[in-house]
Every structure is written in structure tokens, then in C-alpha cells.
């Protein structure tokens, strides 16, 4: 058998398999992206910035509406906890219109390490489009935070409005204050491949991202063993939206080289260190998992983002788990990381 035979044989698999892979990629799933790919226009075009009256007058589409898209929408998640929503987020309602396209920031929902912005884009015929959310950039209070993700949803087909949920995650706490979200050129690409369609314009939206910090830090300092490598938990911070775990691995000189320098295909140990096995157990027995593999059918996580950097012979690691629903802290029994159970006081 030749490798070409395999490639050809894969080419003839059943139609359902082929189409399923495309459908899956277009689902409203959280996605991690890297910033720095913003499309920058040489010439700034006319910008009409309109601060929506909604925020001032209290007119919104219902309290839950602006926030609901920030979580999964398959109907299985519990209703949003209004008290928590009011503490962790704001309805925004700020709009900007350019080139016949209106961009509205519907809501912001955040905690110490994550910030989720629900944005609507209204344009005739937008319904079946996919927007390249990498072209959306935040600055101001969020300037300098380089990681995050985004995904596109459309809950009301036919209304010429598409929603983009843009998520920022960071190793360092996000500041408060006014943030500016700038969109330079909307890039539409239904299949995310080529043949892009662009609406060249500029939309700049300023809004407040202050919030009440409901995060709790759990006792840290535990020493864990990950595939024979010692790592010390530096910080475990949990909020109703997410959990941050920071730890320092000390693999020793030889192992560190192996962890960092090994060929990409073999870097499972590094992956493991960047995403430690973790289970959050609620008092009712429900468990939330860090999806280190796809084996767990229901992880209750929207995304996991881990990273690491070398400091001498140590590897500083962190990862943030975003929940697929609000998780009131008083409902949590314990958190177990790599088999070490830490009760939530």
C-alpha cells in the first residue's frame, strides 16, 4: 500500500462523513485565535459612531437576551442567573454604522481573566455569511491582551443580523475602565477558505467593562506529579464564568529540553502540562471537566486555553477554562487537579 492509496481511499469515504466535517466546523463553537492578524486599512474611511440610547434609557431586548449568546445555545444549559449577570456584565447597546453595516455591542460579561463581548452585525443578506472574527480588535482598557477566541452565531435567521461572540482570555487580570473595540474591514468568508468578500469600513465602539470581581482564590502550593514531572500549583482562581490555574513545572534540565524541543507530534507532555487534568465537582454531583481529550461526552466547558513559557529551568504554565454556563461558587463542592482534591471553602 502506498500513501497515495490512502489519500485516494480517504477521498472516497461516504458523503455524510465529508459533509459532517464541514457542518461541524461551522457550528457555534468557541475557538481560540491568535491576535495580530487584524486587517489594517491604509486609509481610514468615514466612520459614523453612534452611541446607542439603550444604555441610557434602559431599553433593551430583555435582560437575558444580550448575554445569552455568551453561552452555548443548545437549550440544555440552565437559565442565566440574573443576579450574577448584573454583577459580572452590562448590557451595552453601543452601535456604529459605516458602509450600510451597523455593528452593535450588545453586552459584555467578564471576570478577572476573561472578557466576553456579544456583538451584532446588521447587513442585508448577512445571514449565511461567516465573519472572520480575527479582524476584530480590542484596544483601550484591553490593549495588549493577546489571546482569546471568537465564534459566530445567528439565533434569528432572516433578520439580517449575525452575532459574533468575541472572547478575550489572559494570563494577567484584565483592567477595568473603558474599552474600545475596533473593526477594520469586515471579512466574510462562508467556508473560511478563500474568495473572501470584504466590506471596507471602520467601526469603533467604546464601552465600559467594569464589573464586580466575584472570583475566589483557592489555597495553592500543592505539588503534583505529571507524568513524572513535579509541578507546583501557584494559583487557582475560580469565578462563576471561568477558572484560572497557574503552576510551575520543574522538569530538570534534560526533561525540560525534551518537553520544549521535541518534535511537535510528540509534544503530548507539554500539552499535558498546559492543560492539567481537572474536575470541578458541584454539590449536586455534577462534574465539569477540563477536556484534555474528547473522551468525556459533556465537559461543560466552552473553551480551554493553555500556554507556557520557560523561565530558566522551570516552565511557567497557565490555563483558563471557560464554563458553558454560569457556575455559582456556592454550588461547588471541590476542585480536583491531577487527582489532588481541593475543597472550596
Amino acid at each position: 500500500m502506498k500513501k497515495e492509496d490512502l489519500l485516494n481511499a480517504i477521498g472516497n469515504i461516504q458523503d455524510d462523513l465529508i459533509l459532517s466535517a464541514i457542518d461541524d466546523s461551522k457550528e457555534s463553537r468557541p475557538k481560540r485565535i491568535r491576535r495580530g492578524l487584524m486587517v489594517t486599512l491604509a486609509a481610514a474611511l468615514v466612520l459614523t459612531l453612534t452611541v446607542g440610547v439603550g444604555a441610557a434609557s434602559g431599553i433593551f431586548r430583555g435582560l437575558e437576551d444580550p448575554f445569552a449568546p455568551a453561552f452555548r445555545n443548545d437549550g440544555s444549559a440552565p437559565p442565566l442567573d440574573r443576579e450574577l449577570v448584573e454583577k459580572l456584565g452590562h448590557p451595552v447597546g453601543v452601535s456604529a454604522t459605516d458602509q450600510g453595516v451597523t455593528v452593535t455591542v450588545d453586552s459584555v460579561l467578564r471576570d478577572r481573566y476573561t472578557c466576553t463581548v456579544v456583538t451584532s452585525i446588521a447587513m442585508p443578506g448577512i445571514e449565511k455569511q461567516e465573519i472572520d472574527y480575527e479582524a476584530m480588535e480590542m484596544s483601550g482598557a484591553l490593549d495588549g491582551f493577546s489571546s482569546g477566541g471568537g465564534y459566530t452565531t445567528n439565533f434569528t435567521p432572516g433578520d439580517d443580523t449575525l452575532q459574533i461572540i468575541r472572547v478575550w482570555e489572559s494570563e494577567e487580570p484584565f483592567p477595568e475602565g473603558e474599552a474600545t473595540m475596533t473593526i477594520d474591514t469586515l471579512v466574510f468568508n462562508r467556508y473560511r477558505f478563500l474568495r473572501e468578500k470584504k466590506v471596507e469600513g471602520k467601526w469603533e465602539l467604546k464601552f465600559d467593562i467594569s464589573y464586580e470581581d466575584l472570583s475566589t482564590e483557592l489555597p495553592a502550593g500543592q505539588v503534583l506529579s505529571v507524568e513524572g514531572i513535579e509541578t507546583t500549583l501557584d494559583e487557582i482562581t475560580i469565578s462563576p464564568l471561568s477558572m484560572m490555574v497557574k503552576h510551575t513545572a520543574e522538569p530538570g534540565e534534560a526533561d525540560l529540553e525534551q518537553v520544549i524541543e521535541t518534535e511537535p507530534y510528540e509534544r503530548t507532555l507539554k500539552n499535558h502540562l498546559e492543560e492539567l487534568a481537572c474536575v470541578i465537582t458541584k454539590k449536586d454531583g455534577t462534574q465539569f471537566f477540563c477536556p484534555g481529550t474528547f473522551e468525556e461526552k459533556e465537559t461543560h466547558m466552552q473553551s480551554v486555553h493553555g500556554d507556557s513559557k520557560q523561565q530558566g529551568e522551570k516552565l511557567k504554565c497557565w490555563y483558563v477554562l471557560r464554563f458553558d454556563q454560569m457556575l455559582p461558587l456556592d454550588e461547588i463542592q471541590s476542585i480536583t487537579i491531577e487527582g489532588v482534591e481541593i475543597p472550596l471553602a
Binding site: 500500500m1 500513501k3 490512502l6 489519500l7 466546523s25 463553537r29 481560540r32 478563500l194 507530534y265
Partner: protein, 186 residues
């Protein structure tokens, strides 16, 4: 336009069938071709060739899934074009990478010539894919059917590139074991 309406246009021998196909699936077909050929002109030609193949195949054919039907046509056309053209140069596009990766799946001892490009091999791969969880299955198909770059998969599935690579690495090893087992059983 619904797929069935487009197929009816083919059956009526209406040239609108091609424009309707292009409008609905042009981007999809072009993306598949471009990934294989890494050349705009060649990709466009292969897409057009695929439309022509569809024109010749319908009727008498009536594909159940028009999108997949077109995808297969353009994938095969593009792979053939790649064999013949300068695009076969080393290091271009995703094909050399995908082939290099797939080499790991080839069983050490196999009924090489009997398999060839036969349906048996495809069936064995399908059984392997259906045994996977849906996300893993789809990532595999995105990589080796659509030839999506690792970077793109990492972005779309919210995973690091190294994690996607690790996942595919494990799946290739599993596929190799699966093929060895199937070979033994057949």
C-alpha cells in the same frame, strides 16, 4: 436554490445549472482545489473541469448529496492535475505534509496490491472513522479529506496546534493498528 432544483437544471440540460452550482458551491469547490494545487489559475480550471464532469454525470446520475458529489469531483480532478503539473514540486501546499503523515498509517505487513485503491480500503477507513468520537472524526476528515492546514484546524476547534498534531498523531497510529487488524481478519 435547493440542491434538488439545481439537479433538475442539470437534468433539463439548462446551462443555469452551472451558474447555480458556482453560486452555491463555487467557494467550497475552489477551496478544495486551491489547497491541493496552491495556484489560483489551476484551481479555477479544476473547478470548471469538475462542473463539466458534473454536467456529464447528471443525468443519468442524481447525486443524493450534491455538495459532497462536487467535492469529490473537484478533489479527484485536482489531485490528478497535481500529478501532471509543476505543482508537484516538493514542499508545496498541504499534500506533501498530508502524505508524509499518512505514511505512518501504512501497516508493516499488508496485502498491498490487493488493496490498491479498492473500495475495501475505503470501507476499512470508514469503519475506523465511525468508531471515533465526532470531533476527532471530523478533525481527521478535515485534515486528510479537505487537507486543511493544522493552523486552521487549531483555530476552528479552539485547540493549540500542537494538540491538533498530537490528536492526529494518535489517530494515525490507531488507523495503522486498525488496518493491520482488518488485514488480518480479511
Amino acid at each position: 436554490m435547493e440542491d434538488q432544483e439545481i439537479i433538475e437544471l442539470y437534468w433539463k440540460r439548462s446551462e443555469k445549472a452551472i451558474s447555480a452550482t458556482e453560486e452555491k458551491y463555487g467557494g467550497y469547490c475552489y477551496a478544495i482545489a486551491y489547497r491541493i494545487l496552491q495556484n489560483d489559475e489551476d484551481a479555477q480550471e479544476c473547478v470548471n473541469d469538475a462542473y463539466f464532469s458534473a454536467w456529464r454525470a447528471i443525468p443519468p446520475g442524481r447525486p443524493e448529496k450534491l455538495q459532497a458529489f462536487l467535492g469529490k469531483l473537484v478533489r479527484n480532478t485536482s489531485l490528478n492535475r497535481r500529478k501532471e503539473s509543476h505543482a508537484q514540486k516538493r514542499g508545496e501546499g498541504q499534500i506533501p505534509l498530508a502524505l508524509s503523515e499518512l505514511e505512518e498509517c501504512i501497516p508493516a505487513v499488508t496485502r498491498v496490491e490487493e488493496y490498491g485503491e479498492s473500495a475495501e480500503l475505503t470501507n476499512a477507513i470508514e469503519r475506523f472513522l465511525y468508531a471515533q468520537t465526532q470531533p476527532k472524526r471530523n478533525i481527521f476528515i478535515r485534515r486528510y479529506w479537505y487537507l486543511s492546514p493544522i493552523r486552521e484546524l487549531a483555530k476552528e476547534y479552539g485547540m493549540s496546534q500542537s494538540k491538533i498534531k498530537s490528536l492526529l498523531f494518535r489517530m494515525r497510529k490507531e488507523l495503522k493498528t486498525h488496518l493491520e487488524k482488518e488485514d488480518f481478519l480479511l
